[in-house]
Every structure is written in C-alpha cells, then in structure tokens.
Amino acid sequence: MKKSSIFGLVVIAIAIAVIVSVYSNSSTYGSFKDAEKTTSELHVVGHLNKNKQLTYDATKDANYFSFYMTDNKGEECKVVFTGSKPQDFERSEQIVLTGQMAGNEFHASKILMKCPSKYTQDKVEITEAKATKQASI
C-alpha cells in the first residue's frame, strides 16, 4: 500500500473521530420538563417572566442571581445563576440557558440573552420640539 493511502486512511479516521466527539459532546435543546428527566446539561430557550421576582442583591451575595423563566412550552421554573446579574437582563426578549435541574430549581451555568433592541433598535425616539425651534429647513 502506498504511504499516501495509509495517510489518507488516518485522516479519514481522525475526521470520523472528530464528528463522533462533536456529536457526543453536543447538547440538546429542551424544555424544563426534559431537564427534569435528565442529569446531563442541556439548553433551554425561553423568556423572562417579568411579573415575578428577580433576585439579585449584591450586598448579600454578589454571586447569586435568581429569576423565573417561562420556556417555549409555557412551563415556568425558577432559575439560579452563579454570578452577577447580566446587565440589562430585564430588557431581554429571549434567553438561552445552559444548565441542569437541581430539585425544583434550574441551575444555569451560562445565560445567553438576546436583546434585539440592542443591536437593531428600530424604535424611533420622538422628542417633542417646540414650534419655535422648527426653523431648520
């Protein structure tokens, strides 16, 4: 067998190993209900329940942040995050959590929030101007 063929086989083997490792390392998207059934970490997509309490008191514990999130199936769960409250959390329109259930709480190791308004903010701010100032034509 030619050396290049052997090397070719090695490369294919590594490529397959890469795909397998990615596949086995990849997590899944799920709901809180799915999270209750499994012990592995998974991603939950949902949005913040703005009516319920959002706890972050840095004077008590700078690394404890909890809130209530409703997942895409409509189920609500308390979420605990070890860290400070992400800036502008209240403004988030969508949240992607990575973590697992611990009792009745979902312990998130990562929070990714999407604030579309932050990047493509299409809200025009209309400032009232008095008539005397309307001179620029």
């Binding site: 030619k2 050396k3 290049s4 090397f7 490369v11 590594i14 490529a15 890469v18 490792s21 990615v22 596949y23 390392n25 990849s26 997590s27 899944t28 998207y29 970490e41 998974l42 991603h43 997509v45 972050y56 840095a58 004077t59 008590k60 514990d61 700078a62 690394n63 404890y64 070890t82 860290g83 400070s84 409250k85 800036q87 502008d88 403004r91 992607v96 990575t98 611990a102 312990h107 190791s109 990562k110 990714l112 999407k114 604030c115 579309p116 932050k118 990047y119 493509t120 903010q121 299409d122 025009v124 701010e125 209309i126 400032t127 009232e128 101007a129 100032k133 309307q134 620029s136 034509i137």
Partner: protein, 825 residues
C-alpha cells in the same frame, strides 16, 4: 413627493444609490470583458474595456463611501444607516468607525479593498491580468449586489445603506401622531433629534482599525483563488502557484493580524474575561485562515518538489469558499441562538447562500473539467523528506479547521436536517481539548520538519538532531510549566508546550543558519518562532489565569450547592472606601470619575508587605456607560506587567444611574434628604467632636462668610460658616455648612462629604449655651456605593502579542523573498 418632506437632503443618497448601481454594472462589465479578453488574447480591445470597468468600479465604490461618509458626518438622520449607527455625540474617530458598524458598511469595506486589489492586479498581474481579473471582478460584482437594495420582481436584492429612515421604519406606526396629522408627518425630521449611536462596546480605538484589517484579509483571499481558477482555465497548471504564493502570504499575514487584533480587543475592552471564547463569529474568521496557512505550505511544497499539486489547488479554492461560508454564517442570522455577536439577518440569507454556491460551483466545475490533465506525481514522497511532512502538517491544519466548521455549523446542520442539536454545553472546554490535539501535531511538525530537506534526507542524521532538540525542549518545558503552574493542566496542553518550545528551538537553529548566509530561510523561521510564542502565550495565560476576586461570603447558597458545582465564585462586592483582600493585593473602591458618557470606577490596588510598607500601588479605572438606549455596558481595565496582566471588570454597581451625564443639579433639598437616615442633631462648641458610623468630625471653628456658592449675598445678610474637619476611612476632608440670616428669616446650606456618605447641616445657633447645632445625615448602609467586580490575573499573555508581531515580521520577510524569486525566474 420628494419635496413633501421638510428638511431632507436627498441628493447624497441618490448619488450614493447611483454609485451602488454603477459599481455593480461596472464590475459585471469588467468581468465579462476580461472573460473575452482571456478567451481571445489576440484582441486587446477587450482587455482595455476590462480595465475601464475595473477603474470605474473602484471609482464608484469610493463614491459610495464618500456619499455614505458625507451622510454620517453631517448627521443626516433621514438616512436609516446614519440614524441607526451614529449620533451627534460621537467623536470623529468613532464617526469613521460607525461607518462599518452595520452589515452594509462592512460589505462596503470588503468591496473597497477588493476594488483596490483589482487595481493593483491590473498593474502587476501582467500575463495573468485577464483571467485573474475576470474572477476577481465577478466576485466584486456579486459583492456589489449586496449593496444595491433594489426591488427585483418583488424580492429585494441586497441591502442599501442609502435607505431613508421613513422607508425603513413605519414612522406612522411608531408615533400615532404622525398618522393623524399629515403636516407633522411631513416635517417628521424636526422630531428626529439624534441617531441611535454606536454600541458603547464598539466605541473603542480597535473598532477603528480591526474591521478594515480583517476585511482586507478577507478581500485579499480572492486573489490566490482567482489565480487557481485562472491556472485551471488557461491550462497554465504549473505557473499559477508561483505567482499566487506572495498573495497567499499577504492574505495570511493580514487576516492573521486582523484576527489577533480582534482577540486583543476582546481582551482589552470586552467583558469576555479572556482573549478567545470560541464564539462562532471568532471561529468564522479563523476557519479560512487555517486552510490558507495549509494552502500556502503545500504551494511551497509544489514549487520546490512538484508534489502536492492537487492538494494546493483544492486548498486554495477551499480557503476562499470558506471566506464566503464564514460571511454566510455571521451575516445570515443563522447563528442566532449560539452566538452573542453575530449580525441579525438583513434579508440576505439566500443571497449569501447564492454567493457561496456560485463560487463553489465554479471551483468544482473547473476541477472536474481539468481533472485528467492536472499534473500528478506517480512517485510516492520519501518518508524522510520535508515535502511529505509539510503535507501532513497542512492536512492537520485542515482537520483542525474541519472540526471548527462542524461545531460552528451546528445551527446549519439543524436547519438542513431538521435536527435539534445544541452546541456543546461547555464549548470552551470542548474546543480547547480537540484543537489542542491538533495543535500538538502541528507544533511538533513545525519543529522537526526543519531538520528535513526537500527530496531526501539522511535518516540517521535527522533522528539525531531531532532527538537532541526534543530532549532540550522537554528540559526547558519542565521548569517553565512548574514555575507558571501549567503542570496542573491536562496532559495534552503540556504536550503543546513541548511542541511549541520545540518549534521555537528548531526554527531558532534555522534562523542562526540564516544569519550565517542562508538568509532566504529567515522569513519562515521567524514566522514559525512567532507561532511558537503565540502558542506558549495562549497556553500559559488561558491555562493558568487565576480569578483573584474569589468570594466565599455568599449567604444564600447551601454548602452542598457550592461543593457540587465546585464553582469558584468570581464576583466580589466592594463598598466604597472599604478595602478587601484579594490575592496579594488590598483592593479598595475609592470613587468615581465621570466623563460623559463614561463612568469610571476608581479601583485602588495596594500591595503591602508584612511590615506594612507599600510595595506597589496603582489605580485601575474600569468603566461603564449607562446608555439610555442600550443599557448598562461595562468595559474592563487592565494593569499590564511584562509577565502578567491584572484584569479588572465591574459587573454591577449601584453607583451608576441612567443618563447621569444629563442629570440636572437642581434636586430638591427634601428629595435629597430621603437618601439619608433621619438626621441626628448635635450641640457642639468649637473643638468638640461628633462621631458617626464612618468616622468623626471636629468643629474647628466658626467664622463669618463673605461669599457663598449657593446664593448672592446682600449687604445686610449675615452668614456664618462652621468649619468641620471630617475624618473617615483614614482620610481627612473639610466641610463648611453655612447658617444665614436674611431679614427675619434663617436659612442654611448643607454640605456633603460624598466619600464618607455623610451630610452636615448648620441647623441652629444657640447663643445662650455658646454652642451651635449641627445635624448629621448619614447614608444608610444599603445606600452606600458599591461595585461588584471580577479580577483575573493573566500570566505571560505578552508572549501571545509579541509572538504575533514576530510572526507578521516573518511572513513579511517571506513575501519579499517570494516576490524576488518571481522576478528572477
């Protein structure tokens, strides 16, 4: 219709729109002309037309830029792009960078560089001009379509930067008053006072320089691709490689620099807490780069030995297609849930797909048609030859790239196969381990290939020198990892360390030889040494970075939770003027300085030795912007040492409020009092001491005051000031509350000592007792200012930056060398 809206400046937009169409038309014209020029070389008129097209294109692209720049510079907010990305408050250099803040601007940047490169190619490509520029012009034409923004059979093609605000946004829906009152609507511009401005995170000098560099890198990757296509097309299989090598090296240097600039930016001013986070957007920039590095190496193999022709061609073709794929990933919005900073879809999804598919088809079709004619070597490479191992190295770079593509594209797989895979839950760890395995192979190859010669090497001699250097590398690695603490890392990372040091040593030997006379080898040696240092720096700083702001004081956590998660709690609260011990430092939040729109938190670090002597003291100023439109956005500050960096980032604070820059001073006194606990009155005589929680105050004296900052004194007024010496937290302040009599009324003016959180009122004069009454207002504990911060020590990160500079110098030397070779042959 046009005149119906008051105050709009429509000319620059119309001119700009004209230029976008002209840019597209001229690029297409150039591509077609050059196509015929390449197929009918006898007829030189085609070539002339192609040149006219190319120059017209460059001119109109610059025209687009000029119009857009004029719009942004003059704050013409009737244009959506200006309104969305800039504001009046932006200083000049950020106005320039707000230019490429959005998708359209960054496409323009790409278009601009590609246009400049086209002109350079007209000048330099000689016999390659027609076929190469046919390909580049086609790419230029496709890019131009991204900017034209014209409706075509109901579908919008591209996204123009010259769209008007009222076209982009339904103003009537936003503000109902416009719907009901047409007169108001026609003068809507008078109500648009300011633009959205730039995301404060992007307001950084790197935003000025990083995107142009990165896009020059992306743009220059079309050149080797065009040469490869031209070579296949014109059947000049052997020649194109030599001509393309300098351009490949150039693209590699510029894109590499752009990527590291991005890393440096992330490290300096974003809150990642590191220089690389394996975000899909970062991966998208490094994917084509890795393939290009592999491609350049096999091209050099082909040049020297005639081996690896097909691999060179495929890799060069793939590198450009991956540039297009990367721009699809970052710009189509497909990364959505997996990336923090990708663009959202601007309606270009299928357009971007088309771009990738078009060039992929061109590449595949050309390869298939010419496959049988391609020069292949029937002879197997020698095992002890440089070409074989360079080839192996290039393939490993491709595998590393393959892994990045597979993981970053998970949302793409989901979209294609309807699966619901999520990225690895600990992506950084996953990437680090897998990529580290490839890095071990690549660094070792970078080392031992230097001891091999092209064609055939004496194996005994090779093994001896390889092993000697390897042993030395291990001997150097051992103290390095034990001193830096990298020995606790996983084994594979220690192997990289060995590999990287080995690569530095082996290439160091080549460099020494270069100085002895073989100077042309210097370029690659220097570049490889730089690469070795990059790996060493990245490994030590990322592997042994240490959070020094560890916090074990949480009350709410149960012990089991902390134990199970084993989570070092990285954020710590600092009350103003209360020092906290962090590592070897005593850290104090000493105050704020506000320079709108930035709010700087002054964090003082003191290193005190056992005897109480201050060895070192410095103040870091991490900052935050309370941006009314975009919320609170924080940037870190870093203390740089030669061998270590101290990174400080404020994650939360109660000291900052929205719109503080605009805050008026005229707060009602009663309002202000609410911020304090109920006042406590003290009757004191001169020399008496008043105690409060944070310290004490001494009444140093009483005196008549002639001038007041609060109010104009009239001749009959009597004003007395109480001079107080306030001592709090080891510092002395002075305050002089005032008591004033005007006519039959008494007034008083309170004075605050912000740092001590205390306010004094001279509330009464008690002449019978010979005393005065001072009321003390104290801020409640909870109203004291605090910050929550995170501090991380990054050791030896300077190796990473220095390595980059060394690598760039090395590549530059190589470009000069290859250019010279091109001229002599």
């Amino acid at each position: 219709m046009d005149t119906a809206f008051k105050g709009e400046h429509l000319l620059p937009g119309q001119l700009g729109q004209f230029f976008t169409i002209l840019a597209f038309g001229s690029a297409l014209f150039a591509a077609i002309s050059y196509y015929f020029a390449a197929t009918n070389p006898a007829d030189t008129s085609w070539k002339r037309l192609g040149r006219i097209g190319t120059f017209t294109n460059a001119f109109s692209v610059i025209g687009i830029g000029a119009c857009l720049f004029y719009i942004i510079l003059n704050h013409l907010f009737e244009y959506y792009y200006a309104w969305q990305h800039s504001s009046r408050a932006l200083p000049m250099h950020y106005i320039i960078s707000s230019f490429w803040d959005g998708q359209e601007g960054s496409f323009w940047l790409w278009n601009f560089w590609q246009g400049i490169l086209s002109c350079i190619l007209v000048w330099r490509a000689k016999s390659w001009e027609s076929p190469v520029l046919a390909v580049v012009s086609l790419s230029q034409a496709v890019l131009a379509t991204m900017l034209i923004g014209v409706d075509f059979f109901g579908a919008r093609i591209g996204s123009s930067p010259f769209i008007l605000l009222r076209e982009a946004i339904d103003l009537k829906a936003q503000a109902p008053i416009f719907a009901t009152n047409p007169d108001l609507y026609h003068s809507y511009l008078t109500y648009i006072k300011d633009g959205n401005g730039m995301n404060p995170l992007l307001q950084n000098y790197w935003m000025v320089i990083h995107p142009p560099t990165l896009f020059l890198g992306f743009a220059s990757m079309v050149v080797p691709f065009a040469y490869a296509i031209a070579g296949l097309w014109q059947k000049r299989y052997k020649e194109w490689v030599n001509a393309a090598i300098p351009y490949g090296l150039f693209a590699m240097m510029i894109l590499g620099t752009g990527i590291i600039m991005g890393a440096f930016w992330a490290y300096e001013s974003l809150s990642f807490g590191g220089f690389w986070a394996w975000d899909p957007v970062e991966n998208a920039s490094i994917i084509p780069w890795l393939i290009l590095v592999g491609a350049v190496h096999v091209m050099i193999v082909y040049k020297n030995t005639g081996h690896s022709y097909i691999t060179s061609t495929i890799l060069v073709l793939a590198s450009f297609i991956l540039v297009l794929y990367a721009s699809f990933l970052t710009r189509s919005g497909i990364l959505g849930e997996t990336s923090v900073h990708s663009f959202t879809d601007a309606g270009l999804f299928w357009h971007l797909v088309f771009d990738v598919v078009l060039f992929l088809l061109i590449a595949v079709v050309m390869l298939v048609i010419r496959w049988k004619e391609l020069p292949k070597t029937t002879k197997d490479e020698e095992t002890y030859s440089r070409e074989f191992w360079m080839f192996v190295g290039a393939i490993f770079l491709c595998l590393s790239c393959f892994h990045l593509v597979v993981v970053s594209s998970i949302p793409v797989w989901n979209a294609i196969f309807g699966t619901k895979l999520a990225p690895p839950s600990d992506p950084v760890k996953h990437y680090n381990i897998v990529q580290a395995s490839f890095a071990v192979v690549v660094t070792l190859l970078t080392g031992f290939t230097q001891f091999l010669k092209y064609k055939k090497t004496d194996s005994a001699k090779f093994f001896i020198s390889t092993l000697v250097y390897l042993v030395v590398a291990v001997l150097i690695t051992l103290p390095v990892i034990f001193i830096t603490g990298a020995n606790k890392l996983q084994f594979v990372f220690i192997l990289i360390m060995v590999g990287a040091i080995y690569a530095i040593l082996a290439n160091g030997k080549v460099l020494v030889d270069a100085f002895k006379g073989k100077f042309k080898l210097a370029g690659s040696a220097v570049a490889h040494i730089g690469f070795g240092f990059i790996m060493v720096g990245a490994l030590i700083s990322a592997g042994t970075s240490k959070v020094i702001s560890e916090n074990n004081t949480g009350e709410i956590y149960s012990k089991e939770f902390v134990a199970a998660k084993n989570n070092p709690k990285e954020n710590i609260i600092l009350y103003k003027n209360t020092p906290v011990k962090m590592g070897k430092y005593s850290v104090t939040y000493v105050g704020d300085s506000i320079s709108a729109p930035n709010h700087y938190f002054k964090v003082n670090y003191k290193h005190v030795d056992a005897s109480g002597k201050i060895i070192e003291e410095f103040t870091l100023k991490p900052n935050a912007q309370a941006n009314a439109k975009m919320g609170l956005i924080a940037s870190p500050d870093t203390k740089h040492y030669l061998f270590s960096d101290l990174y400080t980032h404020v994650t939360y604070s109660n000291a900052i409020t929205m719109n503080e820059g605009e805050q008026a001073d005229g707060h009602g006194e009663a309002d202000d009092d609410k911020k304090y606990d109920a006042p406590v009155p003290y009757e004191v005589a001169v020399g008496d001491t008043i105690h409060f929680r944070e310290g004490y105050a001494i009444l140093a004296g009483l005196g008549k005051v002639d001038k007041l900052q609060d109010i104009q004194l009239e001749p009959k007024d009597v004003a007395i000031g109480a001079t107080l010496q306030v001592v709090a937290n080891g510092k002395t302040y002075s305050a002089e509350p005032i008591y004033m009599i005007r006519g039959n009324n008494a007034f008083d003016f309170a004075r605050k000592v912000e740092d001590a959180g205390v306010k004094f009122r001279f509330s009464q004069v008690l002449p019978k007792k010979g005393k005065i009454e001072i009321s003390v207002y104290q801020q409640p504990e909870s109203a004291k200012k605090w910050i929550v911060m995170r501090a991380i020590q990054f050791p030896d990160i300077n190796f990473l930056w220095a390595g980059t500079i060394i690598m760039v110098i090395g590549i530059l030397l190589s470009i000069f060398r290859r250019n010279k070779e091109l001229k002599t042959t």
